[in-house]
Amino acid sequence: MRVRYFAWLRQRTGVAEEEIDPPAEVRTVGDLARYLAQRHPRLGEVLQSRGVVRFAVNQEYADADTPVGPRDEVAFFPPVTGG
């Protein structure tokens, strides 16, 4: 599974993207977030705060219940500020 981080979330993980192989219990974006919070404690600090972090699965907006699998690309990022 490929995981990508953007903007200040990337600064918290220290990596822009990584290939991971989470345990089989990780079935949703929410599961994945809890798993990644252990891996990147400074990411974990903010993943708890609702509304601060957005998710995408395969480049589509997702929520905590969206299923994820080994071949998916999952992204974590703050609310967007373009334009």
Binding site: F6, A56, Q59, A75, F77, G82, G83
Partner: protein, 153 residues
């Protein structure tokens, strides 16, 4: 048409080409967002736009399709720059062409409002005190929310 560019672009030159020679177009509305040299009392020395390659293009294409579904548009152009840029430089250009002005005006405002809240871009400002990520504004969410209702055509 949508484009994500990683260097300077010239909105006036783009507008010169936009819907050129089309005699069915009665109205062209456009918007250019630029880097400002300050935010409140804080000087802005430069701005870096980060984005999510792939998802960005996908979301912008969807915004264009949604605008075309809501209004009878004859042409649409969205250009968004990424990377580092200086005050005065254009960040984004949105242009819409239609037979009549309300479709052009409304779709242009719609595209900017949704782009600001749905397209995966993030702004990093350089200030004299260092770098800081721009925070999302609730006023942008409110502006985007007004388009949730079906368009009043």
């Amino acid at each position: 048409m949508i484009r994500v560019v990683d260097g300077p672009f010239d909105p006036a030159a783009e507008l010169a080409r936009f819907a050129r020679g089309r005699t069915d177009v009665g109205a062209v509305a456009s918007f250019v967002g630029r880097v400002r040299d300050h935010d409140g009392r804080v000087p802005i020395l430069a701005m870096t736009l980060e984005h999510y390659p792939g998802m960005t293009e996908r979301m912008l294409a969807r915004l264009e399709a949604e605008a075309r579904r809501r209004w009878p548009l004859l042409d649409v152009l969205v250009i968004h720059r990424v990377g580092r840029m200086l005050p005065g430089e254009p960040i984004v250009l949105v242009a819409t062409a239609a037979a009549h002005r309300h479709a052009a005006f409304e779709s242009c405002a719609f595209l900017m409002d949704w782009l600001k809240t749905r397209a995966p871009f993030w702004k990093l400002e350089e200030t004299p005190e260092g770098e800081r990520w721009v925070e999302a504004r609730s006023s942008d969410d409110e502006a985007a929310a007004r388009w949730e209702q079906p368009a009043a055509e």
